[in-house]
Symmetry: C2
Subunit: 356 residues, 2 copies
Amino acid sequence: MAKSTNPDTPMAVKQRGVTMKDVAKHAGVSRTAVSFVLSNRENASISEETRTRINDAVQELGYRPNAGARALASRRSDWYGIVTEIVTAPFAVDIIKGAQDQAWLDRRFLLIAPSDQADAVGPNEGLEDAATEKLLEQRVEGLLYAATFHRGVHVPESANEVPTVLINCFDADGKLPSIVPDERGGGRVAVERLLQAGHTRIGVINLDPVIPAAVGRLEGAREALAAAGLELDPELVVSGYATADGGYDAACQILDRYPQKERPTALFCLNDRMAMGAYDAIKERGLTIPGDIAVIGFDNQELIAAYLRPKLTTVALPFEKMGALGVQTLAALTAGQPILADQQLVDCPLLERSSV
Amino acid sequence: MAKSTNPDTPMAVKQRGVTMKDVAKHAGVSRTAVSFVLSNRENASISEETRTRINDAVQELGYRPNAGARALASRRSDWYGIVTEIVTAPFAVDIIKGAQDQAWLDRRFLLIAPSDQADAVGPNEGLEDAATEKLLEQRVEGLLYAATFHRGVHVPESANEVPTVLINCFDADGKLPSIVPDERGGGRVAVERLLQAGHTRIGVINLDPVIPAAVGRLEGAREALAAAGLELDPELVVSGYATADGGYDAACQILDRYPQKERPTALFCLNDRMAMGAYDAIKERGLTIPGDIAVIGFDNQELIAAYLRPKLTTVALPFEKMGALGVQTLAALTAGQPILADQQLVDCPLLERSSV
DNA sequence: TCCGGGAAGTAACGCGCGTTACCAACGTAG
DNA sequence: CTACGTTGGTAACGCGCGTTACTTCCCGGA
């Protein structure tokens, strides 16, 4: 790329937009009157006649307010910023959708800044800081941080200058409000569903046991079993890589370890990708789903769950709802209202399909 | 939700940020001098000494420029707007990623406005208009329109007020520059790959035959065959719903129609979801992939292609590249530079995995 | 007749910054 | 000594808009 010698060349077409002054002149009133009418001030005394005259002028001239100028004068920008690696790793992109939709309904704009950009100094070195800084330069009224998977994070210092909410992650220092999925509840409903279908011997294909998702989901599974007077057989829990291959290997282990009588009749896969691999292991052995083995997943990755055959019953991560709730929480914070709790858990609902 | 009686309550913390005036006072110079230093004006005569004094003051006070005010004064916002349904239908979310990354590299912000919002009048009624309008109020310097799948679209009138580029779609009226995937080239490389592997009898699982993707990909397939002196047997082309089930049904038709000798040895599935279904049909019949039947897909939906077993060889849609190219094209347009062509085709590269 | 008070509107300031025009001091050439 | 360019700045205007203080007019009551 050639370095521009003059970065200031304003060659862009300068389409001098119509301003309030133009509207005022066209309607034969003062700019103040126009401002009053457009901002619907209740205590402003403008006669109905001039009001319509102004509105007509707005229509005729195609006036469009200048959001930036308004922000400058009113000292409120109607912008939230969201810092996220999701743009790059789109697994949890529904967070953005939920946040975006909610922001749009509130007539606010969501400025998205990536937290894992290539022009960084080192790997993960000051990226979020740069993103945060950029957003603050835009005078966002609040900040959101969103992660692709449930985990602890550190947010830049400067985030403290403005209300901040974490989505699908939590502050390792425990100061900031956060919105996270109720992993435990999800694990519980999954196993409850299997129990309800008559399964008592349930294999679990586990994730890396230290991540919050694994901890919570497994705990939920234990709770559900306990409520039915059962215990989780440690031998039936096998961890693997969070991939289809990992799920395949783990499922093979579980399925081949026992004679048919003792073989589990159901598998709780802690994510859908592993369930995908488990499907293959099951089918390879001439077994049917859900006839011989019921399978339940987690995450509800649409592209997998809805297209596996049979379609996968799974527990959904409420990405969209978390995004929306994040914006709502932020709106409350910026309005000075108290928020419900420092950590809000969002339900992980069961999605019935055909694998149980 | 209780309706706020006074929408103006500015309860948000008004953290009066430090301005250039503060910096100037702290450094003992005029605000103008600060402005000159910060904007790196070449022809400004500021001594090295005061320059460092100002920079020091900036550091000490933690000055952060106000992007909105700068935009107002300089009449350039450094913002692009992108109108897209992708936020809602995340299939092609990589377009946003590509655009976002490129914009970030150019030190610009991408304002994302959804084109399929719930608060609309009717279905698809004036949504894009509202989104476009909102973006223009923000004084974006250019507009992008992105579609989830390759198709013709109509853009709102007001888009003409500002440079505009279409991504993964094209203007039905043919006026606006657009960036679209080279579907034909993709179809060609897919079939070339099959030919190279020795397959001459190739079944095609087709999409709805009228959509641009189907037309282009099929045309490419024909070209590749023609170059090898072969023709596409119309009987081997069967259309189905663009789902795993559709692919399953279509594959069953093709596989069951012929005795083993005449059965095609390869399937070109025009998208990965259908390939997913085809996998099942093939496996059900006790056939192996790629041993008995080679399969090649299209779209490279990572969650499918990379996790099917065996992993699916497919042709990638260059979403990310299209997004980046869209922003680059827009940058050229806003800079008044000529663009390369009205319609830019982006390569659809073959992704070798294990199904051929 | 005068006065008080609401109705209808306007002038003017400031938000934070880019930018242009201007000014003072200091050489240096004629 | 005057003229004139150069260096190192500063004063002041305007971007488009929100907002406050102020003015003018009219009407009803005393």
